[in-house]
């Protein structure tokens, strides 16, 4: 584009030399203009990747470029969350509308930096890495819309994942300032660490009107069933550590406790269990002699012995996930990743995604009070069940815990399922690991029904040109009392089917009767089978050794009294 600009501006310099030949002039001029336009067009319609890479190159986006918004002190504060909110009372379903894809549209507010009157930000961390990942995942997903007027769900770019880093009042004011806030209607907030000392509320303390809360650590008293979504506390180790999936089976330790912030009463009880059951239990704590930082998060100790965390989790059948100050624990994610069966002791805790996930198949929930009986309870679980739970635990992590993207997409899918319940994902889709999905057999006719004879059956006869045998079949089959309809499929394009009762004589017919004995025919059919099996990815056919016969088949019994006397009498 720049180049073409130069060409055309050079034009006037040629004028004196070509005074008389102004025609050529004009031609040249117009071709230059034309060229310029073509070149421009090419730039205009060139694939956008060029543009964005150029953009990356010269302009790296930074959160510090986000506009700064100063919150006036007198700004309104939303009401505290209404505990009676449900989808039919606090959610505007008209925004979602009816659409053929049955998919909600999610809008993300552009990033802004909120500060109070004196310029102090509302959050000590600002946009966290995790929340940024979550928002990018949403914006890359099929849920995303950039059209605020068509959105069904709004996600603020204000990061409230960790309440610790928030200034409650100011954050609430910032929420209320969002252009589409409208009492929080259809707004979704993500929070993983709710509450703060000393009481540690189980839901985000930021007043939020009617906004939906995807919260980690809900208790049965704060969770609005069918409205909020219970989400896991993301473990930062998920991204840092790769734990290869281990085959389900027995492990070196039976029970392992890896949490470092356990109340001393519970620690005392765990130690008592350890005394009673010895080696089967491994009771880890933080390492006292290591330097602080990331390294200490990746180490656990038992009496001076140092273990790698979370790798050590793979060495145990069961892993304890005790409540801490909060109900939701990031440890749960690590434990699932390791394929260790979580033993959850957190009374009144709403398990992550419990609306759709069947935790009974992946975990053991024990009342806190029964901690001393934990060993006995776990011992009573059959081995096969432990193995299934190990597999299930890892699958839950893979599908729903492993990244902020997974957590975000699951949350949106759950809300989507509520808005379009008739298109909701099934229990099997949510809960069956790929291996089970692949090997399980779910018949579309699953109800045990013995249909009555009255509707009869429809006979479908395929034919090419063996008229004689066709008529033979028709005559025979029409004697059957239960026949309701007979359908002949004429597969011959060169001949039209015979009409009415008129009989054809077909000399070659008998010759083809030996078709199934034909060697090439068998080879063809074998090839078919191989081809089909490769397309199915497996051999779906099953071999059985039985055959269904009438009850009195070939029995020494008067034929007259048999219901089906002619079978087998060829």
């Amino acid at each position: 584009m720049c180049a073409s600009g130069k060409y055309s501006s050079r034009g006037p310099a040629l004028i004196p030399r070509m005074k008389t030949k102004h025609r050529i002039y004009y031609i040249t001029l117009f071709s230059v203009v034309l060229l310029g336009l073509i070149a421009t067009g090419m730039f205009q319609f060139w694939p956008h990747s060029i543009e964005s890479t150029a953009d990356w190159g010269l302009d790296r986006r930074s959160v510090h470029d986000a506009p700064l918004i100063r919150l006036p002190v007198a700004n309104p504060i939303p009401e505290r969350g209404d505990l009676s909110c449900r989808m039919h009372t606090c959610f505007d379903v008209y925004r979602c509308g009816y659409n053929p894809k049955n998919r909600i549209k999610v809008y993300i507010y552009p990033l802004q930096r909120f500060v109070d009157e004196v310029g102090v930000p509302i959050s000590s961390t600002g946009l966290s890495r995790e929340y940024n990942d979550l928002l990018s995942a949403i914006s890359d997903s099929e849920f995303y819309t950039d059209d605020v007027t068509r959105a069904c769900l709004f996600v603020p770019s204000i990061d409230v994942l960790n309440q610790n880093s928030l200034r409650i009042r100011e954050t609430a004011q910032a929420l209320a300032m969002l252009p589409r806030w409208d009492k929080g209607m259809n707004h979704l907030l993500f929070n993983m660490l709710p509450g703060g000392p000393p009481d540690y509320n189980t839901a985000l303390d930021v007043p939020r009107d009617r906004a939906l809360l995807a919260g980690g650590g809900f208790s049965t008293w704060t969770y609005r069933q069918g409205y909020d979504v219970s989400i896991p506390v993301y473990s930062p180790l998920s991204a840092d550590v790769e734990l290869p999936e281990r085959q389900p089976g027995p492990r070196r330790y039976f029970i392992l406790s890896s949490q470092t912030a356990i109340h001393r009463e519970y620690r005392a009880e765990l130690e008592r269990l350890k005394e009673e059951n010895g080696e089967a239990l491994l009771l880890l704590d933080k390492c006292s002699n290591l330097s602080q930082g990331v390294a200490s998060a990746r180490k656990r100790c038992y009496k001076g012995q140092v273990f790698d965390y979370p790798q050590i989790l793979q060495e145990s059948s069961f892993c304890v996930v005790l409540r801490g100050a909060r109900l939701g624990q990031a440890t749960l994610s690590d434990v699932l990743q390791a394929g260790c069966v979580p033993v959850i002791l957190a009374d009144s805790y709403i398990l992550p995604f419990s609306e759709v996930l069947d935790w009974k198949r992946a975990s053991v929930v024990i009342p806190e009070e029964k901690l001393p009986e934990m060993y006995t309870i776990l011992k009573s679980i059959p081995h096969r069940q432990v193995e299934e739970m190990q597999r299930q635990a890892r699958w839950f992590w893979d599908a729903y815990f492993s990244s902020m993207k997974a957590i975000g997409m699951t949350t949106l899918q759950i809300i989507n399922d509520r808005i379009y319940p008739y298109a909701a994902r099934t229990y099997e889709q949510w809960n069956n690991p790929p291996l089970v999905k692949w090997s399980s057999v779910n018949s579309p006719l699953f109800l045990p029904l013995i249909p009555p004879r009255s509707p009869g059956f429809t006979a479908v006869v395929l034919t090419y040109d063996r008229i004689e045998s066709l008529f033979r079949v028709i005559t025979e089959i029409s004697k059957v009392p239960s026949l309701a309809k007979l359908l002949v499929v004429w597969n011959n394009q060169n001949k039209s089917p015979p009409e009415g009762e008129k009989k054809f004589k077909c000399p070659e017919c008998t010759a083809i009767d030996g078709l199934s004995l034909d060697q090439t025919h068998m080879v063809e059919r074998s090839e078919c089978i191989n081809k089909f099996a490769s397309v199915f990815g497996t051999m779906p056919l099953k071999v059985v050794e039985h055959r269904a016969d009438p009850v009195l088949y070939k029995d020494d019994f008067p034929e007259k009294l048999k219901s089906f006397p002619n079978i087998g009498s060829l």
Partner: protein
């Protein structure tokens, strides 16, 4: 001229430049503008989330976990106590309002208050109480009880209703076990009255749980209350009618797409949705009919549409529509729930719910999305297009699921009550509770007892769903009643024949004989372990006890005088592997309805069909031992023990009630037909003439307990593939079966 041309030229050059900037020039200046914008009033709102390049902090600092030690000052126990004292009334949960310690380990017992003289109780409530008293949960000792049920009728709390019990408040307070309602369960169908129909019961329920119909999500206390369906006085006490779906039709569409026929309320609570239905009615496949004609003074409130609606209403027959529609609308009435719901469910007409805020029946365990369309009253006008968008496959699945749920949990009052109790039991026993899969797939939660195993693969029902197979071996259980005197006794031959089967893992001899156990060396040496168990009380039912020594999924149940060859056993076992939830046996029997005597008859004649196989030689899943022992009432098992007869009939009843399918008969060597089941042996109980008459009596007793006849006839026998075919015997795998 030249100047003119020059100007012309300059003009064209200028125009060209303008054009260029107009088309292509957006690029540079725009990015400049962007940069400019960003620093002032944000990105353009219609941009996806940008990729930030700066290093962002983690939301969870590494050291935060360590510093947040669980409320150092408060002990967890104290914290729990605080919860129990804070969360009362509308915020009751199991954690705060239920006393788990009252439920002894693994024992969920229910106490029913004795009925007071002069206290009137409706028939429905009487049925609820007698169901509980007849169930395995019942205890007469309040000290053993985990759950308490009032004998005061709380079903109808509409103060205008004739069934309304007055002074309930005082009556309840006077109960000495009341304990402010702790561990009590209160059944209720109707609450509140015209005009506001509140959900208040008119007395203080304290910390009691509610099993309530038409409960709203607002008042429903999750995992504490139980939402039950609204059922009528005529709802059968036991058994109940089966669903109306007799066979699947494909494509699954019926004459109507969506129907409704019911009252319209004109004004007041819950009237809006039904008043708007006429918008959707199209007189063709969406037929939504309302009438204003109900109540004494309907004429007073009638609106402009009433006459037209009433006329249209009378044109259609409700039953006809119910049976011929793919979907049935279930809009709220004055209260959230309506009888329509169960009617549609039974009729295999997929319910389309229009009742915002109704906590659907048994929502804690049933995934209603698989059997109903949950609509939104606000989106009434979209309902037709919504149901039309549902794919055929999905309709087929929804329809079948209505039938499963109807028969599993709703068809009788007994099922509704037992489901309620089982839900609460699941909460109490926690470790022994059902997964969602067990509740929502055949045969349903009432037949799948979690006390048996926590592992789905241990049940006979979920192999296909989980993509697994049963353990490929069986345990033979031989029921021995005669002393061992000679080495030619049939039991020894049987032992040897069975032990030779490659599928045999072990043999258990259940010694139910009065004589002491024979010495170990009297048993033949076999390649598989033979375990002799001394029968408990030597009663008949002990052959179906869930012995822990049975480690295989399959059990081969045998009488001591059964004559079987190894081949026959092998074949039957391979058949069972294809049908692990059914009984697979050899000699078969049949039942019939004796219309003269108006009772069920039993026959052992050779007939063209059968409905039972004798458990003197049958293979089935070991779960049925557990179910026989723990599911059936003491009255039936007692009858079997007392008569020393009918145990096999009872087992057939049980398995068919669970599977809704007939047993499977496999072929056997023909010459043994007459001698089999010990009819030649004089000592056998089969020789007793009373034996046969007793079996008739048993059948009728069993049928009355099951609330119907669960047995199903079959005309099919399974034979080895080449059985009696004209091919060389050498090509046949199970040749012994046809060799005489």
């Amino acid at each position: 001229m030249q100047a003119k041309k020059r100007y012309l030229f300059l003009l064209s050059a200028g125009a060209c430049l303008v054009l260029l900037f107009y088309f292509g020039g957006v690029q540079l200046p725009a990015s400049g503008r962007n940069r400019h914008d960003r620093s002032h009033n944000g990105y353009r709102p219609d941009q996806p989330w940008p990729h930030f390049s700066d290093p962002l902090q983690q939301f969870l600092p590494w050291d935060q976990l360590d510093t947040e030690e669980y409320n150092i000052h408060i002990s967890p126990r104290q914290k729990r106590d605080v919860n129990t004292s804070v969360y009362k009334g509308k915020r009751c949960r199991m954690d705060s309002c239920f006393d788990f310690s009252a439920c002894k380990k693994n024992d969920f017992k229910v106490y029913v208050y004795p009925q007071q003289k002069g206290e009137k109780i409706s028939e429905s409530y009487q049925n609820i109480l007698s169901t509980i008293e007849g169930s395995r949960f019942y205890t007469t000792d309040p000290g053993q009880a985990c759950l308490f049920i009032l004998s005061l009728d709380t079903l109808d709390r509409d103060s205008l209703s004739p069934q309304y019990v007055h002074n309930l408040k005082t009556k309840v307070q006077n109960l000495h076990l009341w304990n402010n309602g702790r561990n009590h369960l209160i059944f209720n169908l109707y609450s509140g009255t015209w005009p506001d129909y509140t959900e208040d019961l008119g007395f203080d329920i304290g910390q009691a749980m509610l099993a309530k119909a038409s409960i709203s999500t607002e008042n429903f206390r999750p995992n504490f209350d139980v939402s039950i369906p609204l059922f009528s006085k005529e709802h059968p006490r036991t058994g109940g009618d089966r669903g109306y779906l007799k066979y699947n039709s494909i494509p699954p569409f019926r004459k109507y797409m969506l129907v409704f026929k019911g009252k319209r309320y004109l004004t007041g609570i819950g009237s809006d949705t039904r008043n708007a239905l006429y918008h959707v009615h199209n007189q063709e496949d969406v037929v939504l009919l309302t009438t204003c004609k109900h109540g004494k003074d309907w004429q007073k409130h009638k609106d402009a549409r009433c006459d037209k609606d009433n006329a249209e209403y009378d044109k259609y027959d409700y039953r006809e529509m119910l049976h011929n529609s793919t979907f049935c609308l279930v809009p709220r009435g004055r209260r959230l729930g309506s009888f329509r719901f169960l009617e549609a469910l039974q009729a295999a007409c997929v319910p389309v719910m229009l009742s915002n805020g109704w906590e659907l029946p048994f929502s804690e365990i049933i995934n209603w999305n698989t059997a109903a369309v949950i609509g939104d009253e606000r989106l009434l006008l979209q309902i037709p297009s919504t149901v039309r968008s549902i794919h055929q496959d999905k309709i087929l699945a929804l329809r079948q699921q209505t039938q499963f749920l109807w028969e599993a949990y709703f068809s009788s009052m007994e099922k509704i009550v037992l489901t309620t109790l089982e839900i609460i039991q699941d909460r109490v026993l926690q470790q022994e509770s059902r997964s969602t899969l067990m509740w929502n797939s055949h045969p349903g939660g009432l037949f799948a007892l979690p006390q048996y195993s926590a592992h789905l693969g241990d049940f006979p029902f979920y192999y296909a769903t989980l993509g697994i197979k049963p353990y490929p071996k069986f345990t033979a259980v031989i029921h021995a009643v005669t002393p061992l005197v000679s080495q030619s006794q049939p039991i020894l031959k049987l032992l040897v024949a069975v032990a030779k089967s490659p599928y045999c893992a072990q043999i258990i001899v259940l010694w139910n004989c009065d004589k002491p156990l024979p010495a170990k060396h009297r048993w033949p040496a076999t390649s598989v372990p033979v375990i002799v168990i001394e029968g408990e009380n030597k009663v008949m039912s002990s052959r179906f006890l869930p012995y822990e020594t049975i480690v295989t999924d399959a059990v081969l149940s045998l009488d001591e005088d059964t004559v079987l060859s190894t081949t026959e056993v092998d074949f039957a076992f391979t058949v069972w592997q294809s049908f692990p939830e059914r009984l697979v046996g050899y000699p078969a029997r049949s039942h019939f309805w004796d219309s003269n005597k108006e009772r069920w008859g039993y026959t052992s004649k050779w007939t063209n069909d059968y409905s039972m196989v004798l458990t003197g030689a049958a293979i089935y899943h070991r779960y049925y031992h557990f179910l026989y022992t723990n599911f059936l009432p003491a009255s039936l098992k007692g009858m079997v023990d007392q008569l020393a007869n009918c145990e096999d009939i009872l087992m057939n009843f049980l398995v068919s009630a669970v599977t809704k399918l007939p047993p499977i008969k496999v072929t056997q060597k023909k010459q043994y037909k007459e001698t089999m089941m010990g009819q030649s042996s004089r000592a056998s109980r089969w020789a007793d003439p009373d034996h046969f008459a007793q079996r008739q009596t048993c059948m009728n007793k069993f049928a009355s307990w099951f609330g119907g006849m669960p047995l199903v006839h079959s005309q099919m026998r399974l034979d080895p593939v080449l059985f009696k075919d004209q091919v060389s015997i050498l090509r046949k795998k199970y040749r012994d079966i046809e060799r005489l």
